[in-house]
Amino acid sequence: MLTFMASDSEEEVCDERTSLMSAESPPPRCCQEARQGLEDGENAAQWMPWPPGTRASGPQPAGWSFHLESTTQTAHVHFHDTRARRRRAHRGRSLWPSPCGFPQRSQDSEEDFEDDADHYVCGGVPGQPSGLEEELTLKYGAKHVIMLFVPVTLCMIVVVATIKSVRFYTEKNGQLIYTPFTEDTPSVGQRLLNSVLNTLIMISVIVAMTIFLVVLYKYRCYKFIHGWLIMSSLMLLFLFTYIYLGEVLKTYNVAMDYPTLFLTVWNFGAVGMVCIHWKGPLVLQQAYLIMISALMALVFIKYLPEWSAWVILGAISVYDLVAVLCPKGPLRMLVETAQERNEPIFPALIYSSAMVWTVGMAKLDPSSQGALQLPYDPEMEEDSYDSFGEPSYPEVFEPPLPGYPGDELEEEEERGVKLGLGDFIFYSVLVGKAAATGSGDWNTTLACFVAILIGLCLTLLLLAVFKKALPALPISITFGLIFYFSTDNLVRPFMDTLASHQLYI
């Protein structure tokens, strides 16, 4: 699911969870400010951007069961924009979506604006042509597409590299309890029937888990959810990492003694738990999320039987579509509940790629100028891809600058895109399966990879257009499946024949 979300609401949640954030971050008062519109400059200065990278995305789901259901509801992409939203509120435009991810149309925003000052629905008269909004959308669109391309690509590379080199993950060694029907049947019809039944069981488990999760969330059983997630991420970070490391060492015939192994796995797991559940540098957190997605995808590739895997991929895209877009879909209800409570939409299991972007400032005090402009330059910010999420950033932004003159806004914007880890996992499952099956054919893998990236691109384009929570699985998985089957059956014989005759097209 892809959504836009301003991180105002997250500021408060993050207050409790992440202390890297500046303690004096003032409560967002964008609505009042927009109303007054006078002390704009002053207030703008007070709106310290919530430092990115300090979001503690929640723990991974525990084990199989939870993970199955959480994967489906993790197809989120959130788009944060505190500053830009406030700026627009300040300018009296209600262009950007509300914090909770659903865009407020300008007609509604007025009333919401009056009703609920805490909701940061930026109301006000749209005073700017809508072209400007779209310009900003598109201007930030390409960057965000790339911000998602890179982690998805990295996850796929890890999975494909492992599949191609470590034989363990392509060996058939039993099945999950969620896919009880075997595929070693004599007839094709029976095999197809078994895979469909496996899919039905798996999807119903996922649906049940998702509904359970939504119910828990609705009744505020946060401790239960957190405990569950912590258990599952413990399992992923320690047990699966241990197994993975063991298999890699076996493949390359490298000996490692138990003390070293214990130290390695302990360090890896402990730092991972801290980074994912508590605080940590954004890049490290992202790296851990990518690694656990890859581990989970590898487990799926190993334990899902052939045909079941493909049918499950198709079915889960349909489920994702239904769950996110239907009014009574569990994921949509989750989003709406989070919106009502002004909380981040389930920060667990969500990959976030927040980026801080400082554009120039006007009329600053020298002191504030130093503080706020350090260490970012606009060009540097835009060019240096890895500059987001620097932990030193929060310390730079100290309490509000009282003497901020004029109404030139400091155009600091924090924009991030979030994608659920379930999306990572299923993309990697598709590409990994394409790499595992097939006779060592790289063309199929590459075709699926390009297809998934194009699907993601299209989904992000739709996100930029519709600005509401969107499922990230359907388009990509559809393209991926189409290209897998067509490349495997049509393109591969053609390219093989060409290659054997050394013809080039």
Binding site: E135, V145, C457, V491, F494, M495, Q502, Y504, I505
Partner: protein
Amino acid sequence: MTAAVFFGCAFIAFGPALALYIFTIATEPLRVIFLIIGAFFWLVSLLFSSLFWFVARTITANKDGPIQKYLLILGVLVSVLIQELFRFVYYKLLKKASEGLKSINPDETTPSMRLLAYVSGLGFGIMSGVFAFVNTLSDSLGPGTVGIHGDSPQFFLNSAFMTLVIILLHVFWGIIFFDGCEKKKWSALLIVLLTHLLVSALTFISPHYGINLVSTYMIMLLMGIWAFFVAGGSCRNLKLCLLCQDKDFLLFNQRSR
């Protein structure tokens, strides 16, 4: 076959493309996106050509003999046609997208058509090269002896050089093609199509690598020179650039630092 062969051939085939990507495309997100979309279009064109070949083969009921060879030749030629058709389709799409982008943010520097021509050509080229060569490359890591049955022992080198020239040709063809479309010079399109057909046809004489490669490289040089002039280069520009007297370029570099 050794790791040296693997790395050597990999860098021969993909080195220039990688360098072009790193230095010109990787820094701009929009260009990366257009590159991947270009690669996707080439992939779709390959899909259609494979479908055609598959259908033709099923119609002739998979009989062995010279008919398979003729079918393959036909498949190759049809594939070239479909590739150029999809290049045209991509041009149309880019034109529409370009206009859309321009109308939405007039003061933003949207990529020019020339840049998009280069990016799309590179996308086509990279995808084409990768699909042609990656399986061969992965085989070169495994055990075996090249040419044990009397084939040429230079199989890998030849494939690598051929892949390189195809990638570069796609870049040049992209530039010339888009320019021809922009200026409505249909002769340019025809020449691109004909040279593409020629290059593919030259590979039919496959065991004779020398002629094949040399002529393809000559064609690549010609196309390169034509693309250079089409993209706005001139002898004067080139001289200034090589003698580091190009003021615009130097100033631009200084500014971005």
